[in-house]
């Protein structure tokens, strides 16, 4: 962040007003905190990707080749833990959300700026514990920590890693609270609920899930530590516990966590598409309601992770039914994004390519969720590569596409610099192709019956695994491109105007990069706000 000579900027920006290290590390400015989060999660993403790369190399051959069984088990655990808790969950909320929520609302900062700084350091502290656990030899339980394996049988640094996740959970809760209060209390005068940008709706729903679900995860992890340390029988039947209790608690958090990971992405896409289609989003209220519906129904479907766990057949059927229902609001969103293109003036800058890619991948991946909701099919494909492919379509094809789309969309606002557009488009196309080549073969592998978390496999699965590994190479190269040109743009990028894409949210009404206190005068929202440029749509 040091290479940013902005001496000729007409006004002091949040980046240039103070260059000292202290002013960064102890900042309470939501924009700077967003950037610190960006640096942290970029680091975690590299670590998680490295684990994935080693796994994909190992899976090139059916026999063990590169790593031992134990190492492989630690690699997928590390990949899962890092990517879920230290990249996906904080990605859009903590980076883009931190930066944009106050700007989009026309506020000077979040409601509790110092709490926001505490969230950051809790997150970094949790990450440090987790990395420490990795350096000391790692954990081999899988990111799901299933009992009694994790409590009684695993000989690895479970407690250390669980502590790291527990602490980062505190960070999630505090960020969630901060966002809820900010969105509730600090909207610019005149910005009613249904004038909020859809990105804000997504952040609000995500924050509510974070606050309601994370404590359950914290409790489950705490109980693991108690059973492991003191031997109190909670989950291990040999001690009088019940292993299914853990699965219920874990998925009661972790299924809503899937929506923590995808709702913010939907929010980003709901901002990008109207901007580049030059027209208001189709059915604003339906998209907003669908966001709330997903957040609510998301709490009622955790049992679909447990169809073969020995939960009762009746519970299985009920969870199957509810899982079909949760697909409806997602279908509404896809429909509305697509119809927003109708009669637009569409242009295809990098953020729009990511957003369109998101619609495709989210739809392709989301529809495979119906295969998993169909309980009889799930019995066959659960715990196989079909599930792996399914959630990577949502998480990588969906969330990372949306994150990159959002990062490119707001990059000029965040840094005051433009990136090379043609490189951006090449990267977006590379990522799209690499992603599909990596993960589509895994659907076939899964239906053929290849279980997940296998470092050796029957030889007939090799062709598809090699395809997947080749795709991962392309995908990896695709990810390196933005890393290089975005960093390069900090030095050589063209200076960005206040509103380079002609977007309509409040965040574009202030210079790029914004001044420390966001707006020189309180913005008025008489005419326009973000994804709802028409103001209150003519809907009773």
């Amino acid at each position: 962040m040091t290479a940013m000579p902005l001496a000729d900027a007409p006004q002091q920006s949040y980046l240039s007003h103070d260059h000292s290290l202290r002013s960064w590390l102890l900042t309470t400015d939501h924009k700077r905190i967003g950037i610190l989060y960006l640096c942290a999660i970029a680091l975690f993403f590299l670590v998680g990707s490295l684990a994935a790369a080693l796994m994909r190399i190992e899976l090139l051959t059916p026999e063990p080749s590169l790593v031992s069984a134990d190492t492989y088990n630690k690699l997928f655990t590390m990949h899962g833990v890092i990517m879920v808790w230290f990249f996906l969950i904080p990605s859009i909320p903590n980076v883009l959300g931190n930066f944009l929520v106050p700007l989009m609302l026309g506020a000077r900062d979040l409601a509790f700026p110092r709490l926001n700084l505490l969230s950051l350091y809790l997150f970094i502290g949790g990450g440090a514990f987790t990395l420490w656990a990795l350096l000391r030899g790692g954990v081999d339980t899988g990111w799901t920590f299933y009992t009694p394996y994790s409590t009684t049988y695993a000989n690895s640094h479970v407690i250390l890693m669980v502590t790291g996740i527990f602490i980062s959970g505190l960070s999630s809760i505090l960020t969630g609270l901060n966002f809820i209060v900010t969105i509730q209390r600090m909207r610019a005068p005149g910005m009613g609920w249904f004038r909020m940008p859809l990105f804000i709706w997504a952040q609000l729903s995500t924050a509510i899930i974070l606050v309601l679900a994370t404590p359950v995860l914290a409790l489950a992890l705490l109980l693991i530590a108690v059973e492991r340390l003191v031997g109190v029988g909670i989950f291990d039947p040999a001690l009088g516990g019940d292993p299914l209790l853990f699965q219920h608690m874990f998925w009661f958090y972790s299924h809503p966590a899937v929506y923590i990971m995808i709702l913010p992405g939907m929010g980003v896409v709901s901002e990008i598409i109207p901007c580049f289609a030059r027209r208001p989003i189709f059915g604003y209220r339906f998209v907003a309601y669908a966001t709330i519906a997903i957040a609510t129904l998301g709490f009622l479907v955790w049992g679909h992770h447990m169809f073969v766990s020995s939960q009762s057949a009746l519970a299985g059927l009920l969870f199957s039914l509810l899982s079909f229902l949760v697909a409806i609001p997602s279908a509404i969103k896809v429909f509305n994004w697509t119809l927003t293109l109708h009669k637009g003036q569409i242009s295809f800058e990098t953020p729009m390519l990511y957003a369109l890619g998101f619609i495709g991948m989210f739809t392709a991946g989301g529809l495979t969720g119906l295969f998993l909701a169909s309980i009889a099919v799930d019995v066959h494909v659960t715990d196989t590569y079909f599930v792996v492919a399914h959630f990577h379509y949502i998480m990588v094809g969906g969330m990372i596409m949306a994150f990159l789309g959002g990062l490119h969309f707001w990059w000029p606002k965040i840094t005051g610099r433009m990136y090379p557009e043609w490189l951006g488009r090449i990267a977006a196309a590379t990522i799209f192709l690499g992603f599909n080549l990596t993960f589509f073969p895994q659907f076939i592998l899964g239906y053929l019956g290849m279980p997940r978390r296998y470092h050796v496999y029957p030889p007939e699965f090799q062709t598809l695994n090699v395809m997947s590994s080749l795709g991962a190479t392309v995908l990896g190269l695709g990810y390196l491109l933005p890393l290089c040109y975005l960093l390069g743009s900090l030095c050589w990028g063209r200076r960005a105007s206040a509103n380079p894409f002609g977007a309509s949210g409040l965040e574009w009404r202030t210079p790029s990069p914004p001044p420390p206190h966001n707006f020189s005068e309180p913005p008025s929202i008489a005419d326009a706000t973000g994804s709802n440029p028409s103001g209150d749509a003519p809907d009773p």
Partner: protein, 325 residues
């Protein structure tokens, strides 16, 4: 699939497999149609309404409750149909026919031990006859495993501390992969083997000529019953005594407990009563029984329960310690 470099569908070898495949094919068709339709629509809009094109753009639609309602109702109907269909197949998978032959499976890090009631045992293999329903009684010595046969499209978790079941009826002879599908530690990927489906006559012959095939599961259970001293309270042949209730024809019967509640005695109840006897004490008997936790391995518990299943009331029908009905 000749000529194509990879198989797209696994072998289909059970009555469940055909049913599951039909749902899968319907879902795949729906997936394909919707993805192609969406891609076509986006492509069409992207070209027709690209910035600067001369397409007509009067009165763009901003909102349509009718369209949205149709788009909610349509998918909802399709989804409910899919739900009912797969629920029906699942229900079929959950209900083992009464005449299913029973085989016992113990999972442990990192192998599958299989015990046929006729006496033969095997490791990491399961031999079953073609065309006969087979019900597996499964439990684990340590962590959670999952017994998965892709060719049957069936999978069920195998838990420590309780029995789970699954049943299937094989429709094709052959050798099919058996996998552990629930991550269970270091050698999880090596915890597998094969299911061999054989013509019934060959299966009978196979049962007869293996090690241990001289002694049936129930007979070895009876030896254990005597050795462990069960008879000192429950009677030499399970007829009961002043300190322990009778065990004759217990399975499936309702048992009244001291607490006043009633439970149906199934395999899980029998297992619990041996491991944790104080959990459910039968009405009218003192809570004297010691726990056998840690003293009997899961395989021994299965033998013991296999024996208890054969205990008949001598007045009603002759007992058949030789084998399960």
């Amino acid at each position: 699939m000749m000529g194509f470099p990879v198989e797209l569908m696994p072998p289909s070898a059970s009555t469940s497999a055909v049913r599951v495949d039909r749902i899968f094919e319907a879902l795949s068709l729906m997936w394909l149609v919707l993805c192609v339709a969406l891609a076509a629509l986006i492509l069409f809009f992207a070209i027709r309404y690209r910035r600067g094109s001369r397409a007509e753009r009067l009165n763009p639609l901003i909102n349509s409750r009718l369209l949205e309602a149709a788009w909610i109702a349509g998918p909802l109907l399709v989804f409910m149909a899919l739900f009912l269909w797969s629920a029906a197949v699942y229900t079929f998978e959950q209900q083992a026919p009464a005449n299913a032959m029973e085989i016992y499976v113990v999972g442990k890090q990192w192998m599958w031990k299989v015990q046929h009631p006729q006496g033969r045992g095997e490791i990491n293999e399961l031999h079953v006859p073609l065309g006969r329903p087979v019900k597996l009684w499964m439990t684990s010595e340590d962590v959670i495993h999952s017994f998965y046969v892709p060719a049957f499209r069936l999978k069920m978790d195998v838990l420590p501390g309780r029995y789970t079941t699954q049943w299937f009826q094989a429709t094709q002879t052959g050798r099919y992969h058996l996998f552990c599908a629930e991550y269970c530690g270091t050698d999880h990927a090596g915890m597998g083997g094969f299911v061999e489906v054989m013509p019934p006559a060959e299966y009978e012959a196979w049962l007869r000529d293996g090690a241990g095939s001289a002694v049936t599961l129930a007979a070895s259970g009876r030896v254990l019953y005597a050795k462990t001293g069960c008879g000192s309270c429950h009677g030499e042949r399970g007829e009961g005594g002043p300190r322990g209730p009778a065990l004759l024809e217990l399975l499936g019967r309702a048992v009244r407990l001291q607490s006043g509640a009633a439970v149906v005695a199934d395999e899980n109840y029998l297992r619990e009563s041996i491991i944790d006897p104080q959990a459910k004490v039968v009405e009218g008997y003192p809570p004297l029984m010691p726990s056998f936790r840690g003293q009997l391995r899961e395989e021994e518990l299965m033998r013991l329960i296999g024996y208890l299943k054969t205990l008949r009331n001598p007045a009603a029908s002759p007992s058949q310690p030789g084998g399960l009905p």
